[in-house]
C-alpha cells in the first residue's frame, strides 16, 4: 500500500461492464522525499474509491492484483483506496545515529 494525495476525480461516460456507480480519483503517490518536503511525488494514477475520499486528502492505495480482492466479481481495477489517512508520523533518518 502506498501513501497518496488526492488531486482530482474522473467520471466515465463509457465503462467496462463490471463497473457501475464507481468513484475514481486522480492521486499522486508519495515518493521518498514527499513526507518531509511535500514534493517529489511519483506519477499520478487513477484509483478506485469506495470510502469517499476528497480532493486534498491523504489516502492509502493498494495496487496490483490485491486491489481487486475486495470485489466479489472479477473487476478490472489495479489501484484501490483502502484507507483514509488521518495522521502521518515520519522521520527520514534515525536521530540516534550520527
Amino acid at each position: 500500500m502506498r501513501i497518496a494525495t488526492v488531486i482530482g476525480r474522473v467520471t466515465l461516460s463509457v465503462r467496462h461492464s463490471s463497473l457501475r456507480g464507481e468513484r475514481l480519483l486522480v492521486v499522486l503517490p508519495w515518493g521518498p522525499t514527499t513526507a518531509q518536503t511535500g514534493e517529489g511525488h511519483e506519477y499520478s494514477i487513477v484509483a478506485y474509491d469506495s470510502l469517499g475520499a476528497g480532493v486534498g486528502q491523504t489516502i492509502g492505495i493498494c495496487e496490483s492484483a490485491e486491489a481487486t480482492r475486495p470485489f466479489e466479481k472479477p473487476t478490472p481495477i489495479d489501484a484501490f483506496c483502502a484507507a483514509l489517512i488521518d495522521t502521518v508520523f515520519y522521520q527520514a533518518t534515525d536521530p540516534h545515529t550520527a
Binding site: P32, E42, A82, F89
Partner: protein, 91 residues
Amino acid sequence: MRLAYIRGYVTSTVKHPSFHGARLLIAQPVDQADKPDGSPQLVLDPLNTSLHEKVIICSDGSWARNYLKDPRSPARWWVMGIVDPEGSSTQ
C-alpha cells in the same frame, strides 16, 4: 522482497474493514547503497518492529490476507524479517 527502513506510521479511522486493529508502518525501500529507492510503502507488522529498524518487506498478498483473516483484504506488503547488521553485507 525488498530491503527497507521503518520510518514512521500512519493512523486511519475510515479504512477497509480488514485493517481494523492492524498497525500500519511506513517502510522506505532502499537500494544496495542504502539510499531511499521508490515510494514508501505502508506495511503490516506481524513482528512488532521498532522505528528505524532495517527490515525485509514482502509483497505476498496471500500471506497478508491469511494474517488479517480476511480473504477479501487488499493488503499486500508486510514485514517479513528484521535485518541483523552483523551478518549482512553487499558488494
